[in-house]
């Protein structure tokens, strides 16, 4: 009964999306205020019914309703309840419903918090969201219905959730990431609405900037947490794989980062206007492309869902209409946009233009690396594979000028500045960065590796420049009077500095060793002593296993006691390695338990990963910058509602 209600609610939501795409359109055509006013109400209705459908699915999962195909395939009665909840978006169908929940949630948020917008603009934005929704809801009710039944022959128990997904990461990573992906549809809708109306002055940039910032913050957090999850769950200590699906999330992030910067120029200086519209379209288009890649089976990936060509064709058609249509609209209308803001070659504008060039170049690299194998094969040149070395090398090249720019750009004035002002300070900071990082590496690691030296130098370069900038600014404006968006910039840049240092240090100084240990035996590795104290049985709710208790000491001082587990999940007949991690801000000790060897010894892999936390710490700091942009007073007044700030900040934190 409940699944039928959910199914029914989905159909009603589809109806709402149809109305949302048609009624406001007619209203705008006929200048009928009444019809225009329906848009926010329809958006709220869309959200309410989608939320109801989602809750019905969650209910089916939590109550083990195995008459629902989706539940039978992805859950099990022994599954702990929090993973039953996560399983509701662990499958293709369920995750798409989550996607729709987010999409309608964003639509509802726009309806509620855009009252200060001119009615026509607000109507247009909601109408564009309605157009997108029609496609998505049609998809879910025709080829991807999460409420399909197994009746009349339903199984006694379910096939269980993939053990890899039975982790706290599964509960938080997909919703955050989807918030980001789908959130890109809001700035996209603003851009399309602006193109449709022809009102392409800087106001649309001002309106869409906080929405972009929130979506971008969620995306940043989603990617960061995804990386941490892979690290802690997959058991081999990697935190970024350049897997097609990771690339799919990185591309919209790179473009959205470019968009955030170019929106600032469009809003403040009335420049880059047509380019900004393009970035807004591109960021959502790449989100959609990412979805298509994960769900169609076009590309081999660790994340792939079960694939079905019918679904692939449907999403591709959707993709062609949404992206193709918006690019066509762009190519027809963008020529009319005049960027009036003039600036000289050495100015804040041109440095932000360079920022965009680097970010878009990075996007193109990722796009090429992801799709080139497909293209190569389809034009009959055989199979190739593009892997980590390509991406790592390209990103190393790109990050150097990019980081140098991040340091200097905030010091350059808008419109025009004198290059000769930028000789002494950069020189001092450059020398200081190189020297500081050299000292750091020598003292901590005893040897200086080139790439690590480079990354830590860039870290200091950004940190020192940002500090100088903050000091200079506070000489003019009191710290408490400084707009929050200024702090957002500071945090965003500092966060990235931490990411750069973390990546450089952990990739250069990580060590690992495979050892064979007997119960009671000891090994030393990288200055730590590991004692295999005992092996105990572990009995989980839906798994059995062993845990090796390892005591870690450093020069006789107790450091930590870790339990490295090997779990066996009987329903899916899967063995999982639960890595044991002792984490501090400066290093991780990471132990994964391998197989038992014929002579009763155990294979263990010990990793020491210095500064690996900096990568995620930096990511979280960057995401927090997104929250600060929204909290900025200018947008708050414009929204005439304090709720925006508190709720958005709460969601991001």
């Amino acid at each position: 009964m409940i699944p039928e209600l959910g199914n029914f609610a989905l159909y009603i939501a589809f109806g709402f999306s149809l109305l949302l795409s048609i009624l406001p359109f007619i209203g705008l055509r006929k200048s009928n205020m009444g019809l225009m006013q329906t848009a926010p109400n329809l958006a709220v209705g869309l959200f309410v019914f989608t939320l109801f459908a989602f809750l019905c699915l969650v209910f089916a999962f939590v109550t083990d309703d195995f008459t629902v195909l989706n539940v039978a395939q992805n859950s099990n009665s022994a599954l702990p309840v929090q993973y039953k909840f996560a399983a509701s978006f662990g499958s293709h169908e369920g995750s798409f419903l989550l996607w729709l929940l987010m999409q309608s949630g964003w639509a509802c948020a726009v309806a509620v918090w855009s009252k200060s917008l001119p009615t026509t603009m607000r109507t247009r934005v909601l109408m564009v969201i309605g157009w997108i929704c029609v496609g998505f809801y049609a998809y879910i009710i025709t080829v991807s219905n999460p409420f399909d039944r197994t009746l009349p022959f339903f199984p006694v128990d379910g096939a269980d959730l993939n053990p890899l997904l039975q982790d706290i990461g599964m509960i938080i990573h997909p919703p955050l990431l989807y918030m980001g992906y789908v959130g890109m549809s809001i700035c996209f809708s603003f851009a399309i609405a602006a193109l449709l109306s022809g009102d392409l002055d800087s106001t649309w940039a001002k309106w869409s900037r906080p929405w972009t910032a929130v979506a971008w913050g969620f995306l940043t957090l989603g990617i960061t947490i995804g990386s941490w999850w892979a690290y802690s769950e997959l058991g081999w200590g990697g935190w970024w794989f350049w897997d097609p699906v990771e690339n799919a999330s990185l591309m919209p992030w790179l473009v959205a980062t470019a968009l955030l910067h170019s929106l600032a120029v469009a809003e403040k200086r009335n420049a880059f206007k047509s380019w900004t519209v393009f970035l807004a379209i591109a960021s959502f288009s790449l989100s959609l492309l990412g979805t298509f890649l994960v769900r169609s089976g076009v590309i081999v990936s660790v994340h792939a869902f079960a694939t079905d060509p019918a679904r692939g064709v449907f999403i591709l058609v959707l993709l062609a209409i949404v992206i193709g249509g918006s690019l066509l609209l762009y190519s027809l209308k963008a020529g009319l946009i005049k960027s009036v803001g003039k600036f000289s070659i050495f100015s804040r504008e041109s440095s932000l233009w360079l920022n965009n060039v680097f970010l878009v170049a990075a996007t193109i690299i990722v796009l090429l690396g992801t799709l080139l194998p497909l293209v190569h094969k389809e034009i009959g040149l055989g199979t190739i594979s593009i892997g980590e070395p390509f991406f790592n090398q390209m990103f190393t090249y790109l990050i150097v000028p990019f980081a140098l720019l991040i340091g200097i750009a905030p010091h350059i004035r808008w419109k025009q500045d004198k290059p000769n002002k930028f000789v002494a300070t950069p020189l001092i900071i450059c020398l200081a960065s190189v020297a500081l990082s050299y000292l750091w590496l020598v003292v901590e690691f005893g040897e200086v590796k080139g790439l690590a030296w480079l990354s830590t130098s860039l870290f200091w370069w950004i940190i020192l420049f940002t500090a100088v900038e903050l000091v200079k600014t506070t000489q003019k404006v009191r710290l408490t009077k400084l707009p929050l968006s200024h702090f957002a910039m500071v945090l965003g840049h500092v966060g990235l500095a931490f990411v750069i240092a973390g990546v450089g240090l952990t990739s250069q100084y990580s060590t690992e060793r495979d050892v064979k240990m007997f119960v009671g035996g000891s090994e030393s590795f990288s200055g730590f002593d590991f004692k295999f104290v005992k092996l105990q049985d572990v009995k989980g709710p839906n798994y059995d296993g062993w845990a090796a208790q390892i005591d870690i000491t450093q020069q006789g001082q107790e450091v930590s006691t870790l339990l490295a587990e090997k779990r066996f999940y009987p329903v899916q007949r899967n063995t999982m390695t639960e890595a044991a991690i002792d984490a501090t801000f400066f290093r991780d000790i990471y132990i994964s338990l391998g197989e038992q060897l014929p002579d009763k010894g155990w294979a263990l892999r010990l990793h020491l990963k210095p500064y690996v936390r900096w990568f995620w710490f930096g990511g979280i700091v960057v995401a927090f910058a997104g929250a600060l942009i929204v909290a900025d007073k200018r947008y708050r007044q414009q929204k005439s509602s304090v709720r925006v700030r508190s709720s958005a900040a709460a969601e991001i934190v």
């Binding site: 047509s274 393009f278 591109a282 288009s285 298509f292 169609s296 089976g297 076009v298 590309i299 081999v300 060509p309 692939g312 064709v313 591709l316 993709l319 062609a320 992206i323 193709g324 690019l327 066509l328 762009y330 190519s331 027809l332 963008a334 020529g335 009319l336 799709l371 497909l374 293209v375 094969k377 389809e378 055989g382 199979t383």
Partner: protein, 190 residues
């Protein structure tokens, strides 16, 4: 209204991309092209499975087109294709030669294949499901399989009378695979 041509560039690129994605949708991303097709069959000197005294080499294979089938009694899928291979042998007169691949043989770990036992198992299985093979080449150390780029069993190769590999199929040979992929090549072959 004046249109700027450069603004159409993203749309143009996107349209091309969609073309590739559509094409990619209907092809298997896991499919790998074989590296040995078009090359001549590797040289080998290997004993017969049933009679270890007898030695097969490339010379004994040449002169006639032949279907070589990598298989083992441990391989479930191989059992499924035995009846079909027997059928194409009797119906189309295809010469089928087995390359026997043993899974357990690992001298470096002190494990040796039990040849007499394998011979018994093979005889039993073929009596049960049909025997398409003229003879079996015993590739105990997997040197030939390695040269052929074999990744698992069953795999099938078509070799022409000059000793050139014309086709390499991974997975079982069934009605569909034979009709769509292998038969056209076989019928063209010398």
């Amino acid at each position: 209204m004046k249109y700027k041509l450069s603004l159409f560039l993203p749309l143009f690129i996107f349209v091309i991309l969609v073309g590739f994605l559509l094409k990619g949708l209907f092809s298997d991303p896991r499919q790998r092209d074989s590296a040995v097709v078009g090359k001549s069959f590797p040289e080998f000197q290997l004993p017969d499975l049933m009679n270890e005294e007898k030695v097969h080499s490339l010379q004994t294979l040449r002169g006639e087109k032949v279907l070589l089938n990598v298989w083992g009694t441990w391989c479930i899928t191989c059992k499924y294709e035995l009846p079909f291979l027997t059928k194409i042998k009797t119906e189309y007169g295809v010469k089928v030669v087995g390359i026997y691949y043993d899974q357990n043989h690992a001298p470096e770990f002190g494990q040796f294949a039990n040849i007499p036992q394998i011979q018994v198992e093979v005889k039993q299985l073929l009596a049960q499901l049909g025997d398409p093979y003229q003879f079996h080449i015993l590739d105990l150390d997997r040197t030939l399989s390695l040269d052929l780029g074999v990744t698992g069993a069953p795999e099938t190769f078509l070799m022409d009378s000059n000793g050139v590999i014309k086709a390499h199929h991974m997975g079982d040979v069934n009605e569909r695979v034979w009709r769509d992929k292998l038969a056209p090549i076989w019928n063209e072959m010398q």
